[in-house]
């Protein structure tokens, strides 16, 4: 007994050890995976049974799965959203709708694999149900292939029917409500060969036959419409007709039986045709997507070639089952397609493919492991994954598309949901860190249409994950409202139709997943990899650092203000900072030892802040003469001050001076109206059609070069991304991105202009020398654990940048600290006029811009920041850490670090005391 016990204990020990070992060996590749491709860093394994794959790091043996192994819910690698012709949103995923039913194909391609998925089966379950089978086929081809028991059961579900001439033995059936039987049956009546029928059975059979024909023929609507011609084949060959009183589950059983014996819908179609009823039609609700997985260096490239994406366009909807009258053959999962007049079927229909979510569960991290999701919200943000609190995050890249967000409702613009949330997504990159491994994904192509999604674990689904989704065919809702308010309220609920883009974008989707381990596996590592990627892709070069930190100065020139003279309202252009005043502010700054000044000048053109279409570059006479402007230009050049007059190319005002052509110049929204939007809640501006951009820029620069200014500030070109749904020449958002990039490239190379870009998305940065109004933090979402200066880690050393104007900050001191932490330069937005000049006008938002009020503080702040940041000018940031609560350290490649203390009290860190709300420069070795 004792010994036995010991054995038992030993056995338990061994088993538990084994399991422990197995846990330890979780990084072993499961046997169902085969090696598909490998580089010297990673290997790609694929499971041919499921098309699932995994990536293993060759050195550390760490594994990232395409779907979390063992998860019951997360089993798909692609999911799509599409709309049916009734404007209902539908989803499919490639596990349920493709992998499980074997509708995929794996093919080896150089460096990886390509997987073809068809979403949705060729035939749906109902297609497998024979309604009427000729006797010989039923008895020879179906019944023998079944077991005896099944055969008997099946035979019981069908009735054998033939037509025989009326005689004494076979009298006419008697059907309630059908008076003229002659017309229907001619001189025939129903019978079952070799069986004597009672009157009641005969009546039932006749009804069954008629109902089946009615149910399965489009041209027959009721029993009285049936003619002998519809069933005369029964005279020669009797047929088995399915009993319409059987239960739905019996029907399912029959369908399963047919599938089991492979009595295909093609066979069934032959039977139906032989019996003059409609055959099953192939399912049209299918989508095809091909994904390529290619290993390249330390990255996995996931590519979806757009030309291989199929969605149903102008297909004939299946509606055979919809017209059934007997009540037993009701539609099951078929689309209910109604045309405008409420009729079923008829017109050809589309199933627009709204979006694809690619690898939604890749590398998912189970609850309880340390780590975070990195999302590119604002400057970058982290979401902790350790604790299971279900949060969801989904936002579009690069903010709203004005052509979609505005102008769909004739009552005004649709207010974007997150109007108050200032920061958008500037960078097409996301990642997930789990303990000492991490992956990051850079969207290389198609980021214009991307959307970043993140989920943290919940109790039901214990995985944290992050992925990207792509809106292929944007959707707009057109409300069928009228201008009358009462009617509108009535119709709000129901009166909407969806409008979709007509064609897929030209751009493929390419995502590069890179795998980081060890010290690199964090957001700094991701940022440096992303930097490397940008350098490789765009040839971004290091800046030639100047001795001093730049001082960004934004000045507002003129603004049209509403005046009324004897009741005639007009816009009077009013100067806020004239050309001479710009010069005097700058000279005052220079006198106060502010160096490296970069001036961004708004509202300098004819019309001020409300200028005409920039097809020429005329000066505003209220601001001074052209001589004064030229003097200003040469003064700034002499004093080595950068001068960047600002111009908006994408948001254009309709003006009396240069009329814009709404049909030609302006982008169209999905309701085919010219897109206008309200900017700053005040002015209506039109959205330029992307295809007009090149022409406009050419005209502008031709005129602009006469001023001999080397710089130009872009107000909206680097930050806005609008599509155009014009039917003749549509431009998708992804394509608009390429157009905007090319335009900036031309400004750089062809027109030799040095660019300052406002609120630059990452794709614009390679063309800029200066960035202003870039995000220094993320949005304050509840779900975000903390924001990180990812954008700055990527950009520092490659471009000069500044955050938001310090004088408009909610908390000046905080904003200064943030500026120092992120290595940004000071930035002020000023005007020469006192704030009361704009009080009561449309420009009351410029309330804190009077330069005198800020001058001394600005100079002091600049000197203080310059003392520290000038020493790291042009240096890359190589690390950024949170040392303690509200204590951050940014380290640069030359060994200098800046510690910023946001606490109100002095904090000591490794022997260095940092005062409350201040910062300190430290050198390597200063820390104990």
């Amino acid at each position: 007994m004792r010994l036995k016990h010991i054995y038992l204990i030993l056995a338990v020990l061994i088993i538990s050890l084994l399991t422990a070992v197995e846990v330890g060996l979780a990084d072993e590749v499961p046997s169902n995976y085969r090696l598909a491709a490998a580089s010297d860093v990673i290997s790609l394994y694929i499971d041919d049974q499921t098309s699932y794959f995994l990536i293993q790091h060759n050195e550390t043996k760490q594994i990232w799965y395409s779907v979390p192994p063992g998860s019951r819910t997360d089993k798909d690698t692609l999911s799509i959203i599409y709309y049916n012709p009734s404007d209902e949103m539908k989803t499919m995923n490639n596990f349920k709708d493709s992998i499980e039913i074997g509708m995929f194909k794996i093919e080896d391609i150089p460096g990886g694999v390509s997987v073809f998925y068809q979403f949705g089966p060729d035939w749906v379950a109902d297609d497998w149900l024979p309604l009427m089978v000729p006797q010989h086929r039923f008895e020879n081809d179906i019944l023998p292939r079944l077991s005896d028991k099944d055969a008997t059961w099946l035979a019981g579900k069908y009735k054998l029917i033939s037509l025989v001439p009326v005689d004494e033995e076979n009298p006419r059936p008697n059907i309630v409500g059908l008076t003229n039987l002659d017309q229907v049956f001619g001189n025939y009546t129903v019978a079952t060969p070799g069986k004597k029928l009672s009157d009641k059975d005969r009546n039932t059979l006749a009804q069954l036959l008629l109902d089946t024909i009615v149910g399965a023929r489009k041209d027959v609507n009721e029993r009285a419409d049936v003619r002998l011609a519809h069933m005369e084949q029964l005279i020669e060959t009797p047929a088995y007709v399915i009993d319409n009183t059987i239960r739905p589950w019996d029907r399912t059983d029959i369908q399963n039986m047919m599938q089991a014996i492979n009595y295909t819908p093609e066979e069934i179609a032959k039977d139906h045709e032989a019996n003059n009823i409609e055959p099953p039609v192939k399912n049209v609700e299918i989508f095809q997507i091909t994904v390529e997985y290619i290993v390249e260096g330390d990255s996995l490239i996931v590519r979806i070639p757009m030309e291989k994406v199929y969605y149903p366009v102008q297909v004939e909807p299946n509606d055979r089952y919809l017209t059934g009258v007997s009540g037993n053959f009701r539609p099951t999962n078929r689309p209910q397609v109604y045309d405008y007049f409420g009729q079923i079927g008829g017109a050809k229909v589309d199933f627009p493919l709204y979006s694809i979510n690619i690898l939604p569960h890749f590398g998912a991290s189970p609850t309880g492991k340390d780590g975070y999701i990195f999302i590119p919200d604002g400057s970058g943000a982290l979401i902790n994954t350790k604790v299971a609190t279900a949060v969801q995050y989904a936002r579009d890249m690069y903010g709203i598309d004005n052509s979609i967000a505005y102008g769909l409702d004739e009552h005004g613009y649709q207010e974007p949901m997150d109007r108050y949330l200032k920061e958008r997504l500037y960078m097409p990159v996301f990642g997930l860190k789990e303990e000492d491994k991490a992956f990051m994904a850079v969207i290389e192509q198609g980021h214009g249409m991307a959307r970043i999604k993140a989920n943290t674990a919940s109790n039901i689904n214990p995985y944290a994950k992050v992925s990207s989704e792509y809106v292929l065919l944007p959707l707009g809702r057109i409300s069928l409202t009228t201008t009358s308010r009462t009617v509108e309220l009535e119709q709000r609920a129901r009166g909407q139709i969806n409008a979709y883009a007509k064609a897929l974008p030209d751009e493929d989707i390419v995502i590069r997943y890179t795998f980081l381990t060890g010290d690199e596996a964090n957001y700094v590592g991701m940022a440096l990899r992303f930097q490397e990627h940008l350098v490789n892709k765009y040839g971004m070069t290091r800046i030639d650092p100047k001795e001093n930190l730049p001082f960004y100065l934004e000045l507002t020139g003129a603004a049209p203000m509403q005046k009324s003279i004897m009741g005639i309202p007009r816009e009077v252009i009013t100067s806020l900072t004239s050309y001479n005043q710009v010069q005097s502010i700058v000279s005052e700054l220079l006198q106060n030892q502010v160096k490296n000044i970069q001036v961004r000048y708004l509202g300098w053109r004819e019309g001020g802040l409300y200028p005409p279409l920039p097809s020429r570059a005329r000066l505003e006479s209220e601001l001074g003469t052209s001589q004064e402007f030229n003097n200003l230009v040469s003064y700034l050049a002499e004093n080595d001050v950068g001068f960047y007059p600002d111009v908006d190319f994408l948001n254009i005002y309709d003006d009396q001076i240069i009329k814009i052509d709404l049909k030609k110049d302006v982008a169209q929204s999905l309701n085919r109206q010219a897109v206008s939007m309200v900017r700053d809640n005040r002015f209506e501006v039109w959205v330029l059609s992307p295809s007009k951009l090149d022409d406009l820029i050419q005209k502008f620069t031709a005129d602009y070069k006469k001023y001999n200014i080397g710089g130009l500030s872009l107000g909206d070109l680097g930050s806005q991304l609008n599509s155009d749904f014009n039917l003749n020449n549509p431009v998708s958002r992804a394509d608009a991105l390429v157009i905007n990039q090319k335009a900036m490239q031309r400004l750089n190379e062809e027109y030799k202009l040095d660019l300052m870009i406002n609120k630059a998305n990452v794709y614009a940065v390679p063309y800029a020398s200066h960035l202003v109004n870039i995000p220094l933090t993320a949005n304050n979402y509840n779900i975000i654990s903390r924001s990180v200066p990812f954008y700055q880690i990527v950009m520092h050393g490659y471009v000069n940048y500044a955050g938001y104007p310090l004088n408009q900050a909610a908390d000046y001191d905080y904003a200064v600290l943030k500026m120092v932490e992120t290595g940004a330069a000071p930035y002020f937005s000023w005007m020469y006029t006192e704030g009361t000049a704009v009080k009561g006008t449309s420009y009351d938002y410029l309330f804190a811009n009077y330069y005198r009020d800020w001058f001394d503080r600005a100079v002091a702040t600049y000197q203080k920041a310059n003392a520290v940041l000038s020493q790291v000018q042009g240096q890359r940031i190589i690390n950024h850490q949170m040392l303690a609560e509200n204590l951050y350290m940014t380290s640069y490649e030359n060994g200098l670090s800046v510690i910023v203390n946001y606490n109100r009290d002095t904090v000591e860190y490794r022997g260095i005391a940092i005062e409350g709300m201040s910062f300190k420069l430290i050198r390597e070795g200063d820390l104990q």
Binding site: D339, Y340, D418, Y420, L421, K422, E423, I478, L480, T481, T482, T483, S484, V487, G495, I497, A499, M561, Q562, K563, S564, M566, G567, I568, N671, P775, L776, T777, A778, N779, N780, Y781, N782, G803, Y804, A809, A810, D811, D813, Y814, A815, K818, E834, G835, T836, K839, G840, T841, D844, Y845, F847, A848, Y850, E885, N886, Y902, N903, R904, D905, M917
Partner: protein, 733 residues
Amino acid sequence: MTASGARRTTVLIMPAIILGLLILASSAVLAVEATVVPYESYTYDFWKQPVPAPQAYLPVRMMTGLDMGTDALSNPQDITVLGDHIYILDTGKHRIIELDENFQFVRAITQFQNGGVMDKFSSPEGFFITPDGTIYVADTGKERVVILDNDGNLLGIITSPHLEYPDFFPPRFVFRPRKIGVDSIGRIYLIAQDLYDGIVVLNNDGEFTGFVGAPKVKRSALELFWSYLQSEEQRQRSQLYLPIEYASFDVDKEGFIYAVVAGPAENEALKKLNPAGQDVINRTGFVPMRGDSAASFDNNESNDTRSRFVDVIGREWGMVSVLDRQRGRIFTYDGLGNLLYVFGGIGDAVGLFTRPQAITTRGEQILVLDADGRLTVFEPTVYARLIHEALMNYDRGNFTRSTEIWQELTRINPNLDLAHTGIGRALFYDGYYAEAMEAYRHGQNRSGYSSAFAKYRQQWVNENFQWIAWSAIAVILVIYLIAKHQLYYRLKKAIGRKIVESWGETAATVTYMGVPIRDTRTFKAWFLRLLDSLRYSLHVIFHPFDGYWDLKYEKRGTVGAANVLLFLTILAWVFRRQYTAFIFNTIRVQYVNIYSEASSILIPILLWCACNWALTTLMEGKGTFRDIYVATAYAMTPLILVFVPISLVSHVLIEAEGVFLTLAQSIALIWMAALMFVGTMVTHEYTSFKAILTSVSTIAGIAVVLFIMMLFMSLVVQVIGFVYRVYLEVAFR
């Protein structure tokens, strides 16, 4: 000159102020990104339009129950502060939570000894803690008020007062106390569910003493008329539903009760009740104290757009903050009812709420409790601190200091009208009247402007008395000379003669100024006739019976002249709208638009003519449409004569003298009405009775026409809408 000098000095003082404030600031940690604030900051201007403002309060911390060191909160309903510690009433978990100064869990009161057995709360919705730490809990679910000492020992239980005083309560009343407050002398106030008579007052012993703040039932004329028609029974029934329900209240240190009314906020949604129950709040701000102004929602004010207050907190220096559930905003008013600042919002970012429920203050912090279990801590920015400091100094009588701060505030936020007014006041007391006027004008403070202007005017008159006296004498002399030699008449006549002679008219079918004109077909003749008939309007208005007769039968009136008169009326009207002095002009002068103004004059006049014509044709009137039009246009003459001079005169008047303007205007209007009446009478040859009848019916007719036009418009709009819809469907399907 000196005023701007004063401003210069404050610029230098300013950094010191800001520095000082930072040192004063509490040592709480700034844990939330303050560069992106998820809500907009604004105030309302004189025209009830939102204008941007600097951020006043920033979210510094957001905590769930887990962050506080306890389990998640479940539907917490109330929050209060005692010393540094925060108490939260966690309704869903029937407990009171105490947090320390760092928002960390100290203890929870879940039960107490009651007559030897342990007793528990049941969904308590409100509580109050007196300065000595006594806790009063409105134990809603158990229909009672529980009084505990700070250690959780039972001090007493108050059950429903309606058992003893059934007459004061509705039948079948169930006592469910929801909010509770206690003043410094121990009176207990509470709000109970389904009780619409105001706030229940109990004395220190828990004895019912009555209600305060019972809303007065106000009735419109129409309602009075209906109630006159109703039976006694109906009248009694209709009285039941009028009273209002309070959402919450706060008892301040001086014993005033700040109370907010539940539901969509009306103008009197926020009350400050004195112990006698009277509403003593000042409502002198530009916008009513009901949260968001209707004007900011396209005037589309409905119950859906109005703010809904859920909680209120009385603050120092007469300030009061209210919490709006509708948009999750906190509105803060000063003691005069001026909106100081707004912050907060609905959403899922830090600083926004999903179901904001209760608000309290801790020092200068504002704490907002969200019923979904979150507590958000807000701290003031420099801007809000300056406002507080200005109010404090004003309250304490340090006017110089408060003025300095107001000056700094106009620099930080020139849109803050209050600050301009504050400066105006200071400049006024210092005798800088012109500068004070300027400041008051920026602050849209018309009465302040007026008093400064009165002084300024007096000063000006004193300084320029000699000059004024001499010019007055000169003017009188000139007038005397003109009158004596009939200069005006002779000049006029000479000019008239000159015109006619120079144009070479000799023979007469028409005369101008007694000079005959022969050829009536030329432009000159037409023009002279026009001039003549225009001139005749001056005769008509003084001799209406005679004049109107001549207009019609002597052909003295022409359509051309009528057109000119109407045009002049429009000009005079626009002139008055645009150029009336600041004190008397409350419209936004830069937006005056002659086209819309013209339609506001022309449409009523043309409607009058049309309806009058339609009626009088039926009532045997002798006038044609042309006659009616001419008569009506001539009746406008007094307006032309009065509007322009009074607009000019308004520039030298102060507010109190505005009555002269009103008087002149009223005279003009009455005069015009009388002329229209006489015009109707003479033109149609009516008796006075018939003329009255016609005038009244014309007005009724106008109403009918307007009604039909509106119906028609709505129909047309619907038809257009329908057609458009069909187009859309066809185009996009």
